[in-house]
């Protein structure tokens, strides 16, 4: 008995225990398209340059300085800030096929319109996730506008690189995930003003965008 056991131990098992036989072949496919180490379009890894300082300031203003969490006012501040972020920082860090392209102002303008339109699908998304269907529609739309304009630089980049959406989706995802996580504070019974719809989600979206634009280049 004992010898048998010992023999069993020495055999190294490399196969995962599953009742299908095809698993082992799968490990080989792992890195086939690792031949070019950089995608054609990417954001340079320059942390200081990429960092969205304006988002920090806007958040600081929104949470600590403004007394009534005025979402409309915040939006009016966000739009110019995002445009200047795109022009001054984001576009300068974006590399299209090994070169940096100057900002295309007409396109930036068109993208403003597109971003505005993007707020409607974003609104649909918010409602599908459980935002009120009938009432508070204005607030929900404001929230969607915020989300859309937070993604504005990414929208511009998508337009500027022939709609290679796959390269830029991480920025959108970060904003959505930020909003998704921030839902957690809504049900709490603390009875604070800032728990009102849509304030926590707006803040969550900003935080998500902050993280996204900061580390987006690294992933």
């Amino acid at each position: 008995m004992s010898t048998k056991k010992r023999a069993r131990k020495t055999v190294k098992k490399t196969v995962s225990f599953s009742d299908d036989t095809t698993l082992t072949t799968y490990q080989n496919h792992e890195k086939k398209n690792a031949d070019h180490d950089r995608p054609p379009v990417y954001v340079r890894k320059t942390p200081l340059m990429n960092f969205p300082y304006h988002l920090v300031m806007l958040l600081y203003y929104y949470i600590f300085l403004s007394s009534d969490f005025n979402t409309v006012k915040l939006l009016s501040l966000l739009i110019p800030a995002q445009i200047s972020y795109l022009v001054l920082q984001f576009n300068k860090c974006t590399v299209y096929g090994n070169k940096i392209i100057k900002i295309n102002y007409p396109l930036a303008l068109i993208c403003l319109g597109v971003t505005f339109l993007l707020s409607f699908p974003a609104m649909l998304l918010t409602i599908l996730f459980g935002a009120p269907l009938m009432d508070l529609l204005w607030e929900t739309w404001l929230l969607s506008l915020h989300f859309a304009f937070l993604a504005y630089p990414a929208v511009y980049a998508v337009f500027n690189c022939d709609f290679k959406v796959g390269l830029w989706k991480k920025y959108f995802i970060f904003i959505v995930v930020g909003g998704w996580i921030s839902c957690i504070v809504i049900p709490l019974d603390w009875d604070r003003d800032w728990q009102n719809w849509p304030i926590p989600i707006v803040v969550g979206g900003y935080l998500g965008a902050l993280v996204g634009y900061t580390i987006g280049a690294y992933i």
């Binding site: 225990f17 299908d20 799968y26 599908l128 459980g130 998704w180």
Partner: protein, 1016 residues
């Protein structure tokens, strides 16, 4: 003839193969039995742990049978006779005038019973007294009757016995009256008969109480009885009536319904008549036992449920000593009105009727009943004596004794005659402190049992995880036969050891013989399982395997969902909003799958994603070439992605739609507008949607069947005939109910009594869907068809339509059977919710199949989320008042085992039952028959069922832990405790359905049947 030969040539294989298949089936059948026994043992282990925890947490109060004796110091009676009228659910704002311009004013239930307040307000000679009457939770009628007659606080656990009240043995008002040979006559709610029949006169007139559909019988009975006996009959000392109409209207329609107005007018007239009819020597007491919440239900402890009415009246003047007028302020629905506690009534009535105060009483005489200081100090001294006697006899000790001791001393030092005010004040303080002590002591928990329950459940969770997920199903197949004898032997050994030890040494305090056996059995099961597991594996391997299982993306998502759901119980606000959060998680799942289909990220394939492969040589009997069969390796085709995106969209949209149906918790307050109310449930547009559902639901299911061309043979019969027919009958039933609710007069020719027609209809539907259709399923309805392309026999070219989904299509017919029976017992809006659920369920199955996640834990978790979402959207909440008791009377007028119970279980746990059954479909949907061995198939079904059980167990465990943690929380009885009961019950239901329904009955039958067809 031709078809037969073709069929034969396609299906028949060589003799050798046949022998192989036969031996496989034999093996499968043997293993199947072992699997069932193993799962039963695990279920037993979980039930034992739930039992231990429940025993420790829901303690009952210790009751002494002592009886207060009449002594010479007793106060002479002020009244010789009394009439007590209990109006069930008489909320306080029903009886006070409400300003019609006020925003709180409601046309249907305000300003209808004004005779009480009129008598009180226009009272010049102090003969009537109206007070707000605060009930103690739980506000169920049985508990309230106990409280009203004994003056003590019945505990939560008694709530379970609401349906079989037994005689109250402890000292109570009626017993005291009986002891001095007073005659008590009674009419109304038969709960009184169950509780007090030795003390009531034989002339009493009890009436069936629990049929909430019947609004009038009890009330008319009580009124007739009073009309007959109140003045003519001289042979009574106390006459009690208990009217149920208002309560039943509340349960059936909610307070905001015109029936409530009619009922209240009736009560008002009756009260006015009593006020006129009693004689001078009679005390009239009119009271409500509890209130009702905004849905008309009760049982919890919201303000609306607790606030009730107390009215004392006598024709003799100057009976009551009023307080300052500001105490009786009726503005703002009387929120500042002076209130007394319900337990105070017993001592007050005892004193007024010259009886000794019952032994267990904790209440305090109502201030107003004492006409002067002398009388007051008399009352107080007898109340204090009773309380002190009770305390000494019960030997109640508590840290607050330091306050009570000096109080008692100073009370005994004061002479009531010299300093009455201080005496009364000290007495009142004493009672307050004492009551607080008692409340605290009776909320004492048995920590040994609680800990045992939690530990056993944790171990059962680990067992479930390791058996169903960590041990590969192929190994488990070999291990199962070893488990069973091991467990049985270890159970016997453990029982022997435990009882031996208990016999020799002393029994531990927290278990007696019975609980000792349970504990031993649980320990035996655990040891038996682990001996077998550790015989093959070691701990490190299992831990490594856990990491391996959770290594892929979807498993991590699933674990995150599970953890988020389990952590909801860490806070009362999250528990309150569980309905929204669950819907949010389910939409998130839909969004993630949509993302997957749209963007198709290059994820590393998961460790367990492939259904199976067919080697080049084997080929398939269906004629599908091996490359198609092996398409699992290939990335998703464009069409598959489109289809998957469509299913994800359906899932998301239907989740959102379903979440609009809600019966709000009281705590959700202004943030939630209830849509699941009786008004909507009988609205024409809901009935219209239900009518459309008759056609759309079968059409939707047909659509899903057509995806795999499985809409053949039995499927049209089942879906288009059975389901449609039952939906039609169901629609007739519920539209009749809806017409009744809208008070339309229903005239059906040759039919005078609609209720009989409805009972017949409900019984036909239930009989068909619960019995006949399942018998039909046992015959093995196949959803395949032989499609012969060519009449030429020799070419043998034929395909079997529906071949790829042969397991799933047949299994889903069983799900349809269950769905039919569940639909009957749900109200129209809930039926719409089930329609959405059916689509969501099938979409999830398709998504899981397309993403090749059949072996992943995300499948069962998504289904579990679906079950919880639809628990909430079918008009339920994790609270006791939201149980739809009225459904219990659909099959029978009275409570009859098992019809009432089946109806309520199917109504409450319908989504859980559906999901526990269809979890097997994760494996079986789109599963062609010739790929996996029957044993492997069973192993995977068990594994998926196991994940569902794990999910429910984790929720149950989390609720155990957190309800224990929050045991002193303000909201424990209102939020955490009902949630823990719900978690435990849903675990039990899931266990039973999974073990006996899914695995023992359905899967075994199905797999054997299909394999027989192809290889016999």
């Amino acid at each position: 003839m031709d078809e037969k030969t073709i069929k034969k040539s396609i299906l028949s294989s060589s003799n050798d193969e046949k022998i192989i298949y036969k031996s496989r089936i034999k093996k499968f059948q043997k293993n199947h039995k072992f699997y069932i026994i193993l799962l039963i043992f695990i279920a037993v282990l979980q039930f034992i742990s739930i039992a231990f925890f429940t025993r420790g947490f829901l303690l009952s109060r210790h009751v002494l049978d002592n009886i207060s004796a009449l002594n010479e110091t007793s106060i002479p009676p002020r009244f010789n006779k009394a009439v007590v009228l209990v109006v069930d659910a008489l909320r306080f704002d029903f009886v006070i005038p409400v300003n019609e311009s006020s925003s709180n004013h409601n046309l249907n239930y305000h300003n209808n019973i004004l005779s009480l307040y009129d008598s009180f307000a226009n009272d010049e000679d102090a003969s009537s007294l109206l007070l707000k009457f605060i009930a103690d939770p739980p506000t169920t009628t049985l508990q309230r009757l106990k409280g009203l007659t004994t003056g003590s606080l019945p505990t939560f656990i008694d709530a379970g016995s609401n349906f079989d009240g037994t005689v109250i043995e402890e000292d109570n008002l009626l017993k005291q009256l009986h002891l001095v040979n007073k005659t008590v006559k009674f009419a109304g709610d038969d709960t009184w008969m169950a509780l007090f029949h030795p003390f009531l006169s034989n002339d009493s007139f009890p009436l069936e109480s629990l049929n909430v559909w019947d609004l009038d019988t009890v009330d008319n009975g009580v009124m007739d009885y009073f009309h007959d006996h109140l003045q003519q009959d001289k042979e009574w000392d106390v006459m009690i009536g208990h009217m149920l109409g208002i309560d039943h209207v509340g349960h059936k329609y909610g307070p905001n319904h015109f029936t409530m107005k009619e009922k209240q007018f009736q009560v008002d007239q009756f009260i006015a008549w009593i006020l006129k009819s009693i004689d001078d020597d009679t005390l009239l007491v009119i009271l409500g036992d509890h209130g009702m919440d905004h849905t008309g239900n009760h049982g919890g402890d919201s303000i609306d449920e607790l606030e009730s009415t107390l009215f004392l009246y006598s024709k003799k003047p100057n009976m009551w000593n009023f307080k300052d007028a500001s105490n009786y302020n009726i503005t703002n629905l009387g929120c500042d009105y002076r209130s007394v506690r319900q337990i105070d009534l017993v001592s007050s009535l005892s004193l007024l009727l010259g009886q000794p105060i019952p032994f267990n009483n904790l209440g305090w005489p109502i201030d107003e009943i004492a006409r002067n200081d002398v009388e007051r100090s008399q009352f107080v001294s007898s109340a204090i004596n009773q309380l002190q006697l009770y305390k000494d006899t019960m030997q109640i000790h508590h840290s607050s004794d330091e306050i009570l001791g000096p109080l008692a001393e100073s009370i005994s030092n004061i002479k009531p005659t010299s300093n009455p005010e201080e005496f009364v004040e000290l007495g009142r303080k004493y009672q307050k402190v004492f009551l607080q002590i008692c409340e605290e002591l009776w909320a004492k928990f048995d920590y040994y049992s609680i800990a045992t329950g939690i530990i056993l459940l944790t171990i059962s969770l680990i067992l479930l995880i390791s058996i169903t997920k960590l041990i590969p199903s192929i190994v488990l197949n070999q291990m199962v036969p070893e488990f069973v004898p091991g467990i049985i032997i270890m159970v016997l050994v453990a029982n022997l050891c435990f009882h031996g030890i208990f016999y020799v040494y002393q029994q531990p305090t927290f278990v007696d013989q019975f609980w000792g056996t349970l504990l031993a059995t649980a320990v035996g099961i655990i040891i038996g399982c682990y001996i077998t597991i550790f015989d093959r594996y070691n701990f490190i391997w299992i831990a490594m395997r856990l990491g391996e299982t959770l290594a892929d993306y979807w498993s991590r998502i699933a674990v995150m969902f599970m953890i988020v759901h389990a952590l909801l119980f860490t806070s009362n606000s999250f528990t309150i909003w569980e309905d929204r959060i669950v819907a949010f998680l389910l939409s998130s799942f839909g969004m993630l799958t949509l993302y997957e289909f749209v963007f198709l990220p290059k994820r590393q394939s998961t460790t367990a994603l492939l259904t199976a492969t067919i080697s080049e040589k084997e080929g398939t009997t269906s004629g599908v070439n091996s490359s198609t069969a092996n398409s699992n390796y290939l990335p998703l085709t464009r069409f598959a992605r489109l289809l998957g995106g469509y299913h994800s969209a359906v899932l998301i949209i239907f989740t959102r739609l379903a979440s609009m149906i809600t019966i709000c918790r009281e705590e959700q307050g202004e943030y939630c507008i209830p849509t699941f109310n009786n008004q909507n449930n009988s609205a024409w547009w809901v009935m219209g949607l239900c009518f459309l559902m008759i056609f759309i639901l079968p059409a939707c299911i047909t659509g899903y069947y057509n995806l795999t061309s499985s809409y053949q043979a039995a499927a049209p019969i089942w879906i288009n005939v059975f389901l449609k027919g039952i939906l039609g009958l169901n629609f007739v039933y519920w539209s009749l109910t809806s017409l009744e609710n809208n008070n339309a007069t229903i005239a059906i020719p040759f039919l005078n009594d609609v209720s009989i027609f409805k009972f017949t209809l409900a019984r036909i539907i239930a009989g068909f869907s619960l019995v006949a259709s399942n018998v039909g399923w046992l015959m093995g309805p196949l959803c395949i068809k032989l499609n012969v392309h060519n009449t030429d026999v020799k070419s043998h070219e034929a395909t079997i339509l529906g071949y790829t989904n042969i397991y799933g299509s047949e299994f889903f017919l069983l799900v349809i059977n269950v769905l039919m029976s569940i639909l009957l017992f749900n109200k129209p809006l809930a039926q719409l919710s089930y329609f959405l659920m059916c689509n969501q369920l099938l979409s999830i199955l398709e998504i899981i199949d397309l993403l090749k996640l059949k072996e992943n834990i995300i499948g069962p978790i998504a289904l579990g989320l679906l079950a919880y979402q639809h628990f909430f959207t079918t008009g339920h909440q994790a609270t006791i008042p939201s149980v739809q008791w009225d459904i219990g009377f659909m099959l029978s007028e009275k409570i009859t085992f098992p019809f009432t119970h089946i109806a309520i279980i199917l109504n409450t746990f319908g989504p859980h039952i559906l999901v526990s059954l269809s979890v097997a479909l994760l494996t079986l949907w789109s599963q062609p028959p010739d790929v996996l061995k029957p044993q492997t198939l069973l192993g995977r079904i068990v594994s998926n069922c196991g994940i569902l059980l794990i999910y429910n167990t984790i929720l149950c465990l989390s609720s155990f832990i957190w309800v224990t943690h929050f045991r002193r929380h303000l909201m424990v009885w209102k939020i955490f405790c009902p949630r823990f009961i719900f978690a435990a019950l849903s675990l039990i239901v899931t266990q039973l359905v999974v073990t006996f329904g899914t695995i023992a009955f359905a899967s075994g039958r199905l797999i054997k049947h299909i394999n027989d067809i192809f290889w016999k």
